[in-house]
């Protein structure tokens, strides 16, 4: 695991933003021997407002708990995109819910990946698993964590009755991400792993 990676996942309340971040943190802290600290931003409203969660992954104990400049930004709403893209670290990775976010201008030096997470989730029969599709996609394009650690974290974070569905969602997202990275390689571009080396 890298010494320190800052990740922000943002969208609107009800999309499972917090759970997505919790799965990533859990994979690192419980199933891959690293450290993870997750915090979340929310206002007084119960649902529907903007929502963002932050996870720091590290090979060392984490002191400062908040993300200052994310290495990886996952956005699942237009508002989240507008608000958080300016703070993405130069050379960082931007992951979009491509049906919900229209990109006006690609941020300089960022590597951008899109996934129709909501549509993929609907094809599986349940729109609510879009967050887990997103986690799978995140895993494949960032390669920050082992797929198996993430899979275990998914299984560990959902009720037993929904485990199968969520693992399918994870696999869908992961496969979609692996394809995206594969296409990049075909075009002779560096894949995400190399991209992260110069973060």
């Amino acid at each position: 695991m890298r010494p320190l990676t800052e990740i922000r996942i943002a969208g609107f309340g009800g999309q499972g933003v917090i759970l997505a971040a919790a799965i990533v943190g859990k994979a690192a802290a419980l199933f891959q021997g690293g450290y993870a600290t997750m915090t979340q931003n929310f206002g007084p409203e119960a649902r529907g407002g903007s929502c963002s969660a932050q996870v720091i992954l590290s090979s060392e104990p984490i002191l400062y708990p908040y993300v200052t400049q994310p290495d990886v930004l996952v956005v699942m709403s237009q508002e989240a995109y507008t608000r958080f893209t300016p703070e993405l670290k130069h050379g960082g990775i931007l992951i979009l819910e491509q049906d919900l976010v229209r990109v006006d201008r690609f941020p300089d030096g960022a590597r951008v990946f899109g996934v129709p997470a909501t549509r993929l989730a609907e094809e599986l029969g349940r729109k609510v698993v879009l967050n887990v599709v997103m986690v799978g996609f995140f895993g494949a394009v960032t390669k920050l964590l082992d797929a198996e650690a993430l899979r275990r974290a998914v299984a560990d974070s959902v009720p037993p009755a929904l485990q199968k569905l969520n693992l399918e969602a994870f696999d869908q997202g992961y496969a979609y991400g692996a394809q995206a990275v594969g296409r990049l390689a075909e075009h002779g571009e560096v894949d995400s792993l190399d991209a992260l080396e110069f973060l």
């Binding site: 929310f42 007084p44 002191l63 400062y64 708990p65």
Partner: protein, 385 residues
């Protein structure tokens, strides 16, 4: 005595501080909670309400904080270990009954997940501005115990410590979280029940005719009884004698109120809970607690990289204040730097204990976020000059 396995969720978890605190209450043996949930403390009792039916116990959602903070005391005298949870304005409302628990020596735990104030302030954002209220918020002279965890793991561990100290000293113990620690999610290891030490209630062995409910032992703490065991006892918030009956006598008042303070003295001195680092060669000591202690640790690393001899004094037990430790350090360091998420509270205690022997530099922050480590570093650099 070891923890009752029914309440212990042994394993490795990814929990926020509030949830970890709840698991701490269950592991410590709490089987009753009454609450009037308020952000950012709600998750503690939300989890308790979900867990307690299978563990065996009671959660009551009360009509307000006054009711919650007194219902737990009824439960304690009925034999249970009990706690309540609050934040911000709710903590203000509980002051009356914190005093009642002090006066009636009712062992119980109050969890305050501090948010920005005054008044309703910043419901979802952190502060550490209730530290003096924790110490002095109820009227009259008294002593209190307050603990400040800085991680979800400590929210679990120190909640157990809080219940144990409550039983040992028969005093309400305040768990002073902050929103950041309460809502931060990290790995939490919950050990096997056999590895968790629990202080049982010190119930009297004397026969009813020879027992006085407020007669102190050598440690200044009276033995306890519980309703239904055949003892007749009278509990009142009025000044009372050793039998528990009201008294208007000046000497009774003096004896009682002094004892309520004096029984906590061992904690102010040798037993003060704290965490220290690099104090042997330190010129500057950073005194901090709660979430600020983690930010301060980062500043300390940066200071050491600059070659500044900076040491760490993390307050885990804010009250009683570890004044002997600070006084001893004050004789041999140049300065204390005291960052906190308020405009200056515990820094006054550091000043008092240092008694002019070393400079004391506050790094204040009105709350709503945490310090930038650079701000603390700047103060360390200034202090070292």
């Amino acid at each position: 005595m070891h923890a009752d396995p029914k309440g212990v969720l042994t394993g490795v978890h990814f929990l926020d501080g509030d949830h970890a605190c709840c698991e701490g209450t269950l592991a410590a043996g709490a089987r009753f909670s009454a609450g009037y949930p308020i952000t950012p403390s709600t998750e503690v009792v939300e989890r308790f309400a979900a867990r307690i039916p299978t563990v065996g116990g009671v959660f009551v959602q009360m009509e307000d904080e006054l009711a919650a903070s007194i219902a737990i005391q009824g439960a304690v005298w009925g034999g249970a270990k009990a706690f309540t949870v609050t934040s911000g304005p709710g903590f203000s409302l509980m002051m009356e009954h914190i005093g009642y628990a002090v006066m009636t020596e009712t062992p119980c735990v109050f969890v305050n997940v501090q948010r920005g104030g005054p008044s309703t302030g910043l419901p979802t954002l952190p502060a550490q501005a209730d530290m003096m209220q924790a110490r002095w918020g109820s009227h009259g002279d008294y002593g209190i115990i307050a603990l400040c965890p800085n991680s979800p793991q400590e929210c679990f561990d120190l909640t157990i410590t809080a219940f144990n100290l409550a039983e040992e000293f028969r005093v309400p113990v305040l768990m002073m979280l902050d929103e950041c620690v309460g809502h931060m999610t990290e790995k939490v290891i919950i050990p096997e029940p056999g590895q968790i030490e629990i202080t049982p209630r010190h119930l009297t062995q004397r026969p009813p005719e020879a027992f006085h409910v407020f007669e102190p032992g050598e440690n200044l703490v009276p033995e306890m009884v519980q309703a239904g065991d055949g003892y007749r006892f009278h509990i009142t918030g009025l000044t009372h004698d050793e039998r528990g009956y009201p008294s208007m006598n000046v000497e009774v008042q003096d004896r009682l109120v002094r004892r309520l303070q004096d029984k906590l003295k061992p904690l102010a001195n040798g037993r003060a809970l704290c965490e220290t680092e690099h104090l042997d060669d330190a010129d500057v000591v950073v005194v901090s607690y709660g979430i600020t202690s983690r930010v301060a640790q980062r500043a300390l690393q940066l200071a050491r990289q600059k070659g500044i001899r900076a040491g760490k004094f993390r307050i885990i037990q804010a009250w009683p204040f570890p004044e002997e430790r600070i006084r001893e350090l004050a004789g041999r360091v140049k300065a204390f730097v005291v960052p906190e998420l308020n405009l200056g509270q515990m820094v006054h205690e550091v000043e008092r204990a240092a008694a002019g022997q070393a400079k004391v530099i506050p790094v204040s922050h009105a709350g709503g976020g945490v310090h930038n480590p650079e701000a603390i570093l700047k103060a360390i650099v200034e202090a070292a000059k």
